[in-house]
Amino acid sequence: MKVTLAWIVGHLSLVVIAVLGILLLAGGLVHSCEKDQWRDQYIDALNAAARADSTRIVYQDSLTTIYERYAMILTAKELADLELEEERRLRRKQKLDLIALHELYTSARGQIVGLTEAYGDRDTTRIHIAGRDGPIAMEARLSIASPLVQPQASVQYTMSAVIEDLRIRIRQLEDPETGRVLLQATSPHPQVTGVRLEGAVAIERTRLGQEDGPSRLKWLLLGGAVVEGARLLLGR
């Protein structure tokens, strides 16, 4: 057996084919199993949501955990065997929605010490956030089921807050009857993603301009993202 350059190249080629082939087979099988696992978990979550009238969700760690679960559920949903092209198109759009929510989350993360808990029923969700300047409690009335079901997410909040962050587009309205100021905010890229995370914050006029903690509206919007994630987990 004469070892030449051609001999080495030839044998290397065969080795590459054999090794890569085995790796691909193993990777493909593992990938397939993981996909089935997430789909099962998603279906379980849907079934659990169908059985429960109200659910209490406690977030103990960081928001990252919640967000990752949110992302993974979306992926699992995407992996479901659905044939209609319209549904596939919707899922691609929801990926973009998720990116927008992630941007929102990332930009607001530095302001948040921790999200303690969120609970509620079908119509109202209460979220408690440990902010840098103290606890924030909010009550959200949601006009959406979940971004998976409805392309446009519209969230309305009622809460006392002071706004000073301008990355989110903010519109200020005044109610002459009540003397209260209504601040409306939308998420950063609604024109790109189609996401409309709107927070309507009614505040007392006397509190407007006070340094009552930065970016509270962002927290609200973030809360909306979390609520959406929670509802998604619940299958609503």
């Binding site: 065969l14 084919i17 082939g21 790796l23 691909l24």
Partner: protein
């Protein structure tokens, strides 16, 4: 050819494994599966071309 049957058969099995593994990932295959399969197919194609041009595998 017969004297190199062992490595050739192993590589052929690797080729089949690569194809099976790629399709096992599902309809929306991940990028790593596509790249891996492309590499395997490219190497196999090069060997086949060499076989027909030079009259044998470079072994």
């Amino acid at each position: 050819m017969s004297e190199h049957r062992g490595p050739v058969v192993t590589a052929a099995l690797g080729l089949v494994s690569a194809i099976v593994g790629f399709f096992a990932t599902g309809r929306e295959a991940p990028k790593w599966a596509a790249v891996g399969l492309m590499v395997v197919l490219a190497v196999a194609l090069a060997l086949v071309i060499h076989y027909y041009i030079a009259g044998g595998l470079p072994l």
